[in-house]
């Protein structure tokens, strides 16, 4: 058993699996990051991903083109986010509660629509498959190890990695990014300078919807070719943990996503290896143990930063 796992490590299978698992976490976490920076932390990532996963595969197979599907999924997620914005920014509902509602709504509405439109209950596999294309790099794919490392990935994996750079540019290089940070941290200061605080908050939520939408589309049209009820299985919450770990920084988010992707990849590899002695229930716990562990480490490090805790805040 260990030998088999070792060989998969050496021939880069682990890295390939890791990238597959990392992608939805990374995309959703980037969305969460932007909303967090804008002061409207979107905890509805899980629900948004479900909504997008369902919409994109349904529209994708109906239209026959994956791009239309992805666009539809993103649109659905963005519209849901604007709805969240309406409730939280306009009507004053706590953003955490709005996020909770979206999580419950996302799970319910997708099951409901699946049964109404496709008359299935557990999962939906379209007849016409429209997967997100994979990128095969000519020449490179023939090189033994490097080829496996760089070629043959879903387009969405590359989009996710480019999204990190996009977010760095957006947050640090544009006036919009500075306004976003100002609105999140000191809304009254931003307002006193004539920055449209509410509009920026709506936009932050819209960004989170767009990224969660990409993540959801990847789940149903990249990682798999079907929609399964509650198929996110906590990915949105892992992404949320990454947001909290990532120190409000896209690169931190990338590192966090890699850690969680690695945990998920190890889980899969151990599970699928023949003759595993470890009960699968234990193996499946790994990503969640990593979540708890990293949050503890993160908190402990933060405490260490302030040796004597501020007394008034207790």
């Amino acid at each position: 058993m260990w030998q088999s796992i070792w060989s998969q490590l050496v021939d880069m299978t682990l890295v390939v699996v890791l990238l597959r698992y990392m992608t939805p976490i990374l995309l959703a976490a980037l969305g969460g990051l932007i909303s967090d920076i804008g002061g409207v932390l979107n905890i509805g990532l899980e629900g948004l991903m479900l909504i997008s996963a369902f919409t994109s595969i349904a529209v994708g197979s109906a239209s026959g083109h994956w791009l239309v599907g992805v666009a539809a999924g993103m649109t659905a997620a963005v519209l849901t986010c604007l709805g969240m914005g309406f409730f939280s920014i306009k009507l004053g509902v706590d953003i955490i509660i709005a996020g909770f509602a979206v999580n419950i709504f996302g799970s319910g509405i997708t099951i409901f629509l699946m049964s109404k439109i496709f008359h299935v209950t557990g999962n939906y596999t379209p007849d016409q498959r429209t997967p997100i294309p994979t990128v095969n790099l000519p020449f490179l794919q023939d090189i033994p190890v490097l080829g496996k490392l760089l070629s043959g990935h879903s387009l969405m994996i590359w989009i996710a990695l480019l999204a990190v750079l996009f977010c760095v540019a957006l947050i640090y290089r544009t006036p919009y990014g500075v306004h976003l940070r100002a609105v999140g941290e000191a809304p009254s200061a931003a307002k006193s300078l004539g920055i449209p605080v509410n509009r920026i908050r709506y936009s932050a939520l819209a960004w989170s919807g767009a990224f969660a939408g990409l993540a959801g589309a990847y789940l149903s049209m990249g990682m798999t070719s079907m929609f399964v009820k509650d198929m996110t299985a906590g990915t949105g919450f892992l992404a949320l943990a990454v947001v909290l770990l990532g120190k409000r920084n896209p690169v931190g988010i990338l590192i966090g996503s890699l850690i969680f992707g690695l945990a998920s990849a190890i889980t899969t590899i151990v599970q699928t290896t023949e003759g595993t002695a470890i009960p699968s229930q234990f193996v499946q716990m790994i990503p969640y143990l990593v979540t708890i562990g990293s949050l503890v480490v993160f908190e402990a490090r933060k405490r260490k930063g302030a040796a004597v805790p501020a007394t008034h805040t207790i």
Binding site: R173, P175, V178, S192, G194, I195, V308
Partner: protein
Amino acid sequence: MSVLLEMKNIHKVYPNGTAASRGVDLQIYEGEIHALVGENGAGKSTLMKMLFGLEMPTSGTILYKGEPIALSGPRDAIKYGLGMVHQHFMLVPSLTVSENIVLGEEPKQGPLSLFRDRGTEEKQIAQLMATYGLKVEPQAKVETIPVGQKQRVEILKVLYRGARIIILDEPTAVLTPQETDELFDSIKALVAEGYTIIFITHKLREVMEISDRVTVLKAGKTITTLMTKATNPEEISRLMVGREVLFRVNKRPAEPKDAVLSVKDLQAADDKGAPALRGVSLEIRAGEVLGIAGVEGNGQTELVETITGLRRSTGGQIRYLGEELAGRSAGRIRAMKVGHVPEDRQTAGASLTSTIAENLILDHYRNPAFRRGPFLNARKIKEFARTMMQIFDVRAAHEQVAAGSLSGGNLQKVVIARELSKNPKLLIVSQPTRGVDIGAIEFIHSEIIKRRDGGAAVMVVSAELSEVMALSDRIAVMYEGEIVAVLDNTEALTEEEIGRYMLGLGTKTEHPERKEQEAI
């Protein structure tokens, strides 16, 4: 000089029926420093909000160079060259100084002007700094710079937006004397460049020092506008309060008895873990006021917090009536009749979302007098609160008003009422009158002295040297976590002498022989 800005018969009634302005007239000449004074609740802040477009007047007109204008938002105000430096800084802590200065008006570049142009940003800020002599570090994060610099950032922000009229809302409230001097130099430089300054303040000394004219507000109305040269502090304060105000605290010489608190070689760390108290020893006797003077940040905050159990000491002793306080919780120390008025009433002194009544019993709710079985006795609490509000002159509609809606002075009276109502044997008061108006200052000071005469040991910590000198019988000066001098507060003691110790230019400890005796 021509009239640049004029407010005529401004009224402002808030939707909840509060009339904040009831006929304000204000004329600002071009190129003058115009001080605006008034007690808390006189309507200064509302007036400024209206000038800055954050609130619209209910009636009345605002004229700019003789033309009526409507200000419906900060952007409009900026258009007419009005810039405001708020009392509570409007800065984004995690952004850099230069990001804060250009925020909302960033120089842009690239396709569709999508990107920030940091080169231009740097150049423009360097130019602003050079022109007005306002030194800041453009690349430092705002959260890491001292208060005086934060204020300079605010002023640069306003200048960057092309403001010609700069409103400063209590700019010196958070500054050390040196920083205040620097601020005044900058203000004078700006006026020399043709800028107009509106200066809101509580401190009449500053009005006299820097302003050309002064407008007095009371109860939402303009009382009068005076030439500063032709008036004096007594006249201004009489106009503000409506009666004569005593500038000196009336008190008899102290009659100190036995030591109530004796602190020996106390050590503690600050929030970052650096040593803040490096062996502080002091003694307060029943019936005397010990004042703690010092530039803020020299360990005064930590000293108070350590004695009151809010901060752990790392060494030394705190003996209170023969018992050791170190290691006890704040609640247990409070139960031993130690009263504490914290320096920040907003976060530590009061619960802003609770009512006045609830704030008044925060320290007493365990007392059987306010209980009925396991429940609170609402009737008793109400009675108590009403009595306290009457004695301490807390001005509010009733005792169920949220503490957060009170003005600074009224809130401070609530905190002081709570701490004094327990008849403390040791009373520790930090910044008793920060941001409090003149009438209330007089009252708070006389209450503190009354407690002293009643036999309590009192410790007063204040950033205002004049306050420490007015209240104290003895003054201990702190510098870098140590007490460098203990001085008897006699007529002969001058601000300059204390100031020398505050800057660490000398030491003087009282009765070195007594230390030896105690050591034996």
